[in-house]
């Protein structure tokens, strides 16, 4: 079992796939480290929000994910 990372919007293009599995446990610095190569500044920037198991995190640094969890990376939503 591992942690499922879901990429939304253009992040799926950058990551090369809509999701990826990473072995847990994972905190914020570890997630940044794991994704920086593909997503670069997107991961660390303010614009991308993070959801853990369907709940948006107010503070990304508070991320604590374990095997079986799902993390979604949410870029800004598109307007009209």
């Amino acid at each position: 079992m591992s942690i499922r990372i879901v990429f939304l919007g253009r992040l799926a293009d950058l990551a090369g796939a809509p999701e990826r599995e990473i072995a847990g446990p994972l905190d914020w610095p570890a997630l940044v480290e794991a994704l920086r190569g593909d997503l670069g500044e997107w991961v660390t920037g303010d614009k991308v929000k993070l959801a853990l198991n369907g709940a948006v995190l107010a503070d990304k640094a508070a991320l604590r994910a374990k095997d079986g969890d799902e993390i979604a990376l949410l870029p800004p939503v598109s307007g009209g």
């Binding site: 939304l8 919007g9 293009d13 959801a51 979604a72 800004p76 939503v77 307007g79 009209g80």
Partner: protein
């Protein structure tokens, strides 16, 4: 009555609104907005993606907010996801009320929030290539009207 739907297939606005209206006997008015995929500028298709755990929940919250804020008998919010062609309906908001102003304002309120505050990501195909659509400053200004 609250009716919130995320649709993966084309829908008929008339059918949805007809059933919604029938469900509210005694209403004084129904206001409906239907958004369609805009054509022109070489646009061949629009694709909407969403995130299952957040998108429908967010739309449901929005419907609750509209019911709490305006004097409504019911509200219907339906949104497409997937790939669509110009001219296809993409979103429908309908509000039923005893009096017109609540219905009109509720639809305006819900549309401003759906446009800028709902979990949808859009890309359009122009002349054979996909382009992601970025947020526009106007969307945030539209949202600020309701603060």
């Amino acid at each position: 009555m609250k009716d919130v739907r995320l649709l993966t297939e084309p829908f008929s606005p008339g059918q949805l609104v007809g059933a919604f209206t029938d469900a509210h006997p005694g209403l004084g008015g129904v206001c409906t907005f239907v958004g369609e995929v805009r054509g022109g500028n070489g646009i061949e298709a629009l694709e909407l993606s969403h995130y299952e755990p957040l998108t429908l929940t967010g739309m449901d919250d929005l419907a609750e907010q509209a019911l709490a804020r305006f004097d409504l008998m019911g509200v219907l919010i339906a949104h497409r996801v997937g790939e669509m062609r110009p001219g296809e309906p993409i979103v429908l908001v309908s509000a039923a009320a005893r009096h017109r102003r609540a219905a009109i304002q509720a639809v305006d309120f819900a549309m401003d929030h759906l446009k800028s505050d709902a979990w949808f990501w859009k890309r359009e195909k122009r002349d054979g290539e996909w382009h992601w659509i970025e947020p526009r400053p106007e969307d945030h200004a539209d949202l600020a009207r309701w603060d």
